[in-house]
Structures are given as structure tokens and as C-alpha cells.
């Protein structure tokens, strides 16, 4: 099925013979993901190096009491809320798989439903993140407050930016699906989007484990 979709791909940049038989877009996406691994690895490493080195609070897992902090501050990370948003993002990967599968078998109805569902779940995750960021700022943690604030907001902010780009990609695919319909020959383009989406999801699993769960 997938190979038939490849063979009939009308995606413009690679309509010809390829050495591996694979679609060039897909190879480029894999190269991009390899690069992104080093990008997020650098961000996560910096977060971990700076863990516990902040001079003033709030801190992620520990309370901060006077005289270190002007007022008593609770640990700032809200594990139950973030667990919920993590679950939402994981479910979006399932929706993505179902969307791809619907496009491959030419199911016009479910391709739209699952693409919309993936984008919706991704947006929900972003909503959670917006709530989290706002409440942290209210509790006294800004990007300029301490090392934790800087490394936390930049790391999760860049992840959020990646999710945003993915939601835009999904909505573009959905728009095309509504306008002219995604045929099995378009499956490769949905496949590329899915690879990216799953990657962003996997990065979040790493962030959730290393930043939120490990004290």
C-alpha cells in the first residue's frame, strides 16, 4: 500500500527515479529530525546542567523559604496538570497514525476527522502550556528570574514552537483535504508530517521525564 502510494506520488521535487526507491522528502525529513535531536539535546543538557544552580527561587521541585526568597514559595511544577497535557499529546500521535492510515486507504471522511483531531489535540497541549506559563509567571517565575526560569522557558518554549509549527502543518493538510481531497498518492506528504509530529511527541516524553518527573 505504502509503496503504491510512493510510486504514484506526484509530489513535485522527486517524481523521478531515486537510488533508494524512497521518497526524497522523507529522507530530508529524517535528516532534519537527526539535526533536531542535537538541537533539543543541547537545550535539555543545559537545563540539566543548570538544575539546582539557581540562586533565587522559585525552584522546580523544592519549596523556597526566606531568606533565600522574599516570601515562601511552593515548588512550581504542577505534575498532575502536565501529566494530563502529556497524555493529550500522546493521544494526538495516535490520531496522527489514524489520519495517515485513512489517507493511505483513500478514506476521505476519516482522513479529515483524524487530521482535525490531531490538530485539536496539539492545540489543547498548547493551551495547557499557555496556562502553565501564565500561572508560573503569576507565582513569580519569569524567564529572567533565575537559571531555572531561563532554561525552563526556553526549552519548553522551543518545544511549544515546534508543536505550533506542527499544528499549522496539520491544518494546512486538513485545508487541502477539504478543498480537493487527499488521495493515496498524497500519503507521502501526510507521512512526512506524521514523522515530524511523532518526533515532537518523543521529545516531549524526554522533557516530561527529565524536567518534571525526575526530582
Amino acid at each position: 500500500m505504502a509503496s503504491a502510494a510512493l510510486a504514484h506520488s506526484h509530489a513535485p521535487e522527486h517524481a523521478h527515479y531515486t537510488s533508494t526507491g524512497l521518497n526524497s522528502n522523507k529522507i530530508a525529513i529524517w535528516a532534519f529530525i537527526g539535526s533536531e535531536c542535537f538541537f533539543f539535546a543541547s537545550l535539555i543538557s543545559t537545563y540539566l546542567i543548570y538544575k539546582g544552580r539557581s540562586i533565587v527561587g522559585p525552584f522546580p521541585h523544592e519549596a523556597c523559604n526566606p531568606p533565600v526568597c522574599a516570601t515562601a514559595l511552593k515548588p512550581i511544577l504542577n505534575i498532575p496538570v502536565t501529566s494530563t497535557s502529556t497524555f493529550v499529546l500522546l493521544m494526538s500521535s495516535l490520531a496522527m497514525v489514524l489520519a495517515h492510515s485513512a489517507v493511505v486507504r483513500g478514506d476521505r471522511k476519516y482522513s479529515k476527522i483524524w487530521l482535525a483531531m490531531t490538530a485539536l489535540l496539539g492545540s489543547t497541549f498548547l493551551g495547557f502550556q499557555a496556562y502553565e506559563f501564565t500561572s508560573f509567571v503569576h507565582e513569580g517565575l519569569k524567564i529572567t528570574t533565575n537559571l531555572f526560569g531561563s532554561s525552563f522557558f526556553v526549552l519548553t518554549g522551543f518545544h511549544g514552537a515546534h508543536v505550533t509549527a506542527g499544528v499549522l502543518w496539520l491544518m494546512t493538510l486538513l485545508f487541502i483535504d477539504i478543498r480537493r481531497g487527499l488521495a493515496p498518492r498524497d500519503a507521502i506528504n501526510v507521512d512526512c508530517c506524521a514523522l515530524y509530529w511523532h518526533f515532537v511527541d518523543v521529545v516531549w516524553i524526554a522533557i516530561f521525564t527529565l524536567v518534571y518527573l525526575i526530582k
Binding site: P12, S24, I27, A31, G34, S42, S54, T144, L147, V154
Partner: protein, 619 residues
């Protein structure tokens, strides 16, 4: 720019490129983009070289006062940044662009429009950084931009803003090109060209793309932290907030050392193409050359902290990085011996390209040996931040990368222009470069061991440094003269040089089977490859009839006549790069949000329009 690279007048058939500036803005042809990279990099080479001449003039004698100390800081920073990011890397990119599709038997790269985008982004980034000169605010913290020295308390002016945003833009260009060439080499090889039949230049380029794609995200993160520190007040490099003063150094060199191999491996690849042809022998130990290139790249990610022995990382870290650094000398040494093995017993022809190639083997070895010297921490502590280091990296970067790139320029000039470069002027260029280079950089070893520090704008008399500085400056002037001869030769030969024909050197690889310059579609029929040396096979199959494939009689047919679909020219990559630059300009000009959003909106809108338009006309 566009006018200087017009096709030579002798070109067979009708003008294969439509002319005019528009055709260059809208081109997606890898050969034209390669030439854009080439001429842009050569222009920056003149500017970066001019900066070096001012530096050397200032240092000619003690107490030099040609330029102020502030200007001197800007000069050495921009000299290093220019030569690395705007000369050696884009010259390599010029060869990637021009040669990789020809060497693997493809009609273009995998993503021609992304390729054009990479070039325009590179041009924008290099201009962005150099515009700072007009504001008398050129970057002044060294090409490595050590934070916390580059954080606002120590660098309040806009100098560093120009540097970090310029670097960010240049990084985007390299990343986009990296994805493109990786895909091209993996996926667009002609039938029969398995990996171990790939020309060695393509192999080394392939390895380089992995380094680019994996090393640049690290510097992107390091520079992003610095951007946030400078623009939004974060604390990544704020030592008072508890930040680690070594964070930047680790991130920078984790990128910076692979970057060193990004600079040298393409030159190694070029020389590995040149030496066999002028020795009339296949490359000695081709598989070992490939494996040692891969090993160099792999080990290249594990040696970064040898740039930091002096910061006191402790004996364990020092020992580990010392050992990995010594290890990386082994595959490099293997390459040197393989080049010697290639020449051994060959029938050597000392063309200019060959002379530059042999010079790389010798001079890089000197730089490599001084490199092994400071792989030992106790020895490094004597040498670090002294002119010994300056001598070392100029032997590997000038003696290595640039010599290799010059070899490549002389070797591929006839393929690019259709004419041969003048060998007599070439010989002058080579010998003056060789003598000038050694006069400039060899005395720096002694200066370093005599205690002269790097990056000082002036020095007192009576320290025993005068004579060696005199010699180095005279050498630099000789290098300047040699470079002028090179440029004269380049443009003169474009009009007066003898017509080259398809294969002037008796080479072995696919690019020499087609006309010079190649037709826009490269190969009328995609070749089938059965060995590493397809053209030598063709020659030995019909030795009497055609010792060399003849210049095709008459004109080369156009793509339309052959029914080969060609990409539609488009300015969208140019507009997208422009949008990106406008957005970054908004960031530097006091976070001017309207300009930022205007640029970002232009970029996103153009990107959509580009991605939703097919590459070729619908058929």
C-alpha cells in the same frame, strides 16, 4: 556579480542560460547557484584578506598604531569569521553545488529551490554581519565570541548583536544546504553508483553534510541563549545568577571542532580527485580513504574540550580529550600516506592544480603535527593563546583547506568556464602563495614559543619579536600579491584561455564525460555506472578510436529538444530569504516589532506559495 559570470563566448550552441540579473535571482540550477557561491566567496576572500593585511601591517614593528585597538579587535574578529563562514565554507559549498550532481550523474540536487534559498540566506547573513562596518560597530570578541565576555555588561554595543544574528542566519543556510545534499547523495545517484563507487569528493562531501547537520544545531542553541540573554534578559551566561562560565565554551567547541572538519574534509576530497588524475593512477586505498574520512568525522565530536585545557577541567577530562585528540591523528595520517601512495610510482604531471594538491599534503602535515603537539595538555598550556596556535591553525586552514580549494579551482575551472586557466600565471600564483604562506606563518611558531600572545593589537620592542613579525608581514604582502595574480588569471583566462573540451585532464569521473560548461540538464541520458572510474573504463574500451571523448560536434541540444523537464525559474527562494533577513533586522533594531512581523509574514507567505507550487510545469 551576474555580469562577471556570463557564459564564455565560445559556448557551443545558443546561450544556454537566459541572461540578465532576473535569471540569476530566479535560478534553481545547481551549476549557477554553485557559481553564485563561488564568486561571493571569492569576493569575501578579498575582503577577509584585506583585513589580514591591515593586521599584519599593524604588527610589522613594535608599537604599531595604524589602527586603534578597538578597530584591531574588530579586524581580527571579522577576519576569522569571514574566512571561516564566508570563504572556506561557501567555497566548499560552491563545489558541493557544482560537482555533487555531476559526479553522481544527477540532473540537479534533490530540492533545487531549497538550494537557491540556502545561497540567498548565506548572502544575506554575510552582508548582515559586514554591514556592521558601516556603523563602526563590527563584531569585536573573536570568531568564537566567548560568553560571558559577549554578554551586555562586557559588550554593551550592537557589535555582538550583528555577530550573533549574522551567525544565526549563516547557520540556517548551512543547515538547509546540509539536508539538501544529504538527500541528494543518498537518493539521486545514477543507476549502478553504489556508495563505494562514489567519487571520493562526493564521499567527503557526504561526510561533511553529516557534520553540518549535526554540529550546527548546537551553535544555534548557544547563540540563541546569547540572543535571549542580550535581548530578553535571561541568565544563561550571567555568572552572578549562578551560570557556568564554561557553558558557552562547551557548546561552542562542541560545534567548533566538528566545524574544523567541515572546513577541511571537502578540501581533502578535492585533492583526492586531483592527485590520482595527475599521477595517472587510481586513488590508493579508496576504501580506507572513505573509512578514515568517516572516522575523522565521528571522532571529531569527541575532542572539543582540547580547546579548553587551560580552563582547568581536571586531570580526567584533560586525559580523555588528550587521548581522543591523539587518536584523530591516526585516520588523518592514513590519508596523508594514501596520497603519497597514490603518487608513488605514478607518471606525475605538475600542473598548477597538482602543485596545490601536493602543497596540501606537505603543509597540512606540518599543521597536523603541531596539532598533535598541543593535544598534550602540559604542552598545550605553554602554547595556548600564543602565536603558536595561530601558526597551527593557519597551516591547517590555509595550508590545508585553502590549498585544497585552490587545487579544486584550477582543476575544475575548465569544467565551469569551458576554458583552461593560464598555467604560467598559475605557477606564479602557486609559488608566491607557497613562499608567502610559509614566510607568514612559519615564524609564528617561534613567536608563540617566545611568548607572543594572540589577539594583541601592539607589542613593545626588545622582546625578541621584531624580526619574526617583520618576516610574517612581508610574507603576508607576498600572499596578497599572489592573490591578485590569481584573480587576474581567473578573469583573463575566461576570455583568452584555450578551449578546454570535455576532459582536458584525462580524468575518470562522470562530470568529465559531458561538455564544458555542462548543459543545463547535465546528462542527456542518465548514465549507468559500473565502476569507480567510468570515464577511464570508456577510454580503455575504445583506446584507438577515441582516446578522449571528442568535443560534441555542433551544438548541445536544449532541454526542450530532448524533452527533459526543467524546474520553472522562481524568485520565491530569494523573497523568502529576504523576508527572513528583514525579520532579523527587526530584531536587531531595538526589537522593532512591526519590521519583525513584516519579515516573518513575508517569509511564511512566500514559503506557502513556494511549497504549494510544483517544481516543474505540470505535464
Amino acid at each position: 556579480m551576474a555580469t562577471t559570470v556570463a557564459a564564455p563566448r565560445h559556448a557551443v550552441g545558443p546561450a544556454r542560460y537566459e541572461s540578465g540579473i532576473w535569471s540569476w535571482l530566479a535560478t534553481t540550477d545547481h551549476k549557477r547557484i554553485g557559481q553564485l557561491y563561488l564568486y561571493t566567496a571569492l569576493a569575501w576572500f578579498l575582503i577577509g584578506g584585506f583585513e589580514a593585511e591591515i593586521i599584519r601591517t599593524q604588527l610589522y614593528g613594535p608599537n604599531g598604531r595604524l589602527v586603534s585597538f578597538e578597530t584591531y579587535n574588530q579586524l581580527f574578529t571579522m577576519h576569522g569569521t569571514t574566512m571561516i563562514f564566508m570563504v572556506v565554507m561557501p567555497l566548499s559549498a560552491a563545489f558541493f553545488n557544482y560537482l555533487i550532481p555531476l559526479q553522481i550523474g544527477a540532473r540537479d540536487v534533490a530540492f533545487p529551490r531549497l538550494n537557491a534559498f540556502s545561497y540567498w540566506v548565506f548572502l544575506a547573513g554575510s552582508l548582515f554581519m559586514n554591514v556592521s562596518w558601516l556603523f563602526r560597530a563590527a563584531p569585536d570578541a573573536g570568531w568564537f565570541g566567548y560568553a560571558p565576555l559577549t554578554t551586555p555588561p562586557y559588550a554593551p554595543g550592537p557589535n555582538i548583536d550583528f555577530w550573533l544574528i549574522g551567525l544565526q542566519i549563516l547557520g540556517l543556510s548551512s543547515l538547509a544546504a546540509g539536508f539538501n545534499f544529504l538527500t541528494t547523495i543518498i537518493n539521486l545517484r545514477a543507476p549502478g553508483m553504489n556508495l563505494m563507487r562514489m567519487p571520493i569528493f562526493t564521499w567527503m562531501s557526504f561526510v561533511t553534510q553529516f557534520l553540518l547537520v549535526l554540529a550546527f544545531p548546537i551553535i544555534t542553541v548557544a547563540v540563541t541563549f546569547l540572543m535571549f540573554d542580550r535581548f530578553f534578559g535571561t541568565n544563561f551566561y550571567e555568572v552572578a545568577a549562578g551560570a557556568d562560565p564554561l557553558l558557552w565554551q562547551h557548546l561552542f567547541w562542541l560545534f567548533g571542532h566538528p566545524e574544523v572538519y567541515i572546513l577541511i574534509l571537502p578540501a581533502f576530497g578535492l585533492v583526492s580527485e586531483v592527485l590520482p588524475v595527475f599521477s595517472r593512477k587510481p586513488l590508493f586505498g579508496y576504501p580506507v580513504m572513505v573509512y578514515s574520512g568517516i572516522l575523522i568525522a565521528f571522532l571529531g565530536f569527541g575532542v572539543w574540550a582540547h580547546h579548553m585545557f587551560a580552563v582547568g577541567m581536571g586531570p580526567i577530562a584533560d586525559s580523555i580529550f588528550s587521548i581522543t585528540t591523539m587518536l584523530i591523528g591516526i585516520p588523518t595520517g592514513v590519508k596523508i600516506f594514501n596520497w603519497l601512495g597514490t603518487m608513488w610510482g605514478g607518471s606525475l604531471r605538475f600542473t598548477t592544480a597538482m602543485k596545490f594538491g601536493i602543497a596540501l599534503v606537505g603543509l597540512f602535515t606540518i599543521g597536523g603535527i603541531s596539532g598533535v603537539m598541543h593535544s598534550s595538555p602540559p604542552s598545550d598550556l605553554q602554547q595556548t593563546d600564543s602565536y603558536f596556535i595561530v601558526a597551527h591553525f593557519h597551516y591547517v586552514l590555509f595550508g590545508g583547506s585553502l590549498m585544497g580549494l585552490f587545487a579544486g579551482l584550477y582543476f575544475f575551472y575548465p569544467k565551469i568556464t569551458g576554458r583552461l586557466m593560464d598555467e604560467r600565471l598559475g605557477s606564479w600564483h602557486f609559488w608566491l602563495t607557497f613562499i608567502g604562506m610559509n614566510l607568514t606563518f612559519f615564524p609564528m611558531h617561534f613567536l608563540g614559543l617566545d611568548g607572543m600572545p594572540r589577539r594583541i593589537a601592539s607589542y613593545d620592542a626588545n622582546q625578541g619579536w621584531d624580526m619574526n613579525n617583520h618576516i610574517a608581514t612581508i610574507g603576508a604582502y607576498i600572499l596578497g600579491a599572489a592573490t591578485l595574480i590569481f584573480f587576474y588569471n581567473w578573469f583573463r583566462s575566461m576570455r583568452r584561455g584555450p578551449v578546454a573540451g570535455n576532459d582536458p585532464w584525462g580524468a575518470a569521473t562522470l562530470e568529465w564525460t559531458i561538455s564544458s560548461p555542462p548543459p543545463v540538464y547535465n546528462f542527456a541520458t542518465v548514465p549507468t555506472v559500473t565502476s569507480r572510474y567510468p570515464l577511464w573504463d570508456m577510454k580503455s574500451a575504445q583506446p584507438a578510436a577515441a582516446p578522449r571523448p571528442a568535443q560534441p560536434a555542433g551544438r548541445v541540444p536544449t532541454a526542450e529538444e530532448l524533452g527533459i523537464p526543467m524546474p520553472t525559474p522562481t524568485v520565491k527562494p530569494f523573497v523568502a530569504a529576504l523576508g527572513l533577513t528583514i525579520a532579523f533586522t527587526g530584531l536587531i533594531s531595538h526589537k522593532n516589532l512591526p519590521i519583525l512581523f513584516l519579515g516573518a509574514a513575508t517569509f511564511v507567505a512566500t514559503l506557502y506559495s513556494w511549497l504549494l507550487t510544483p517544481l516543474e510545469p505540470e505535464h
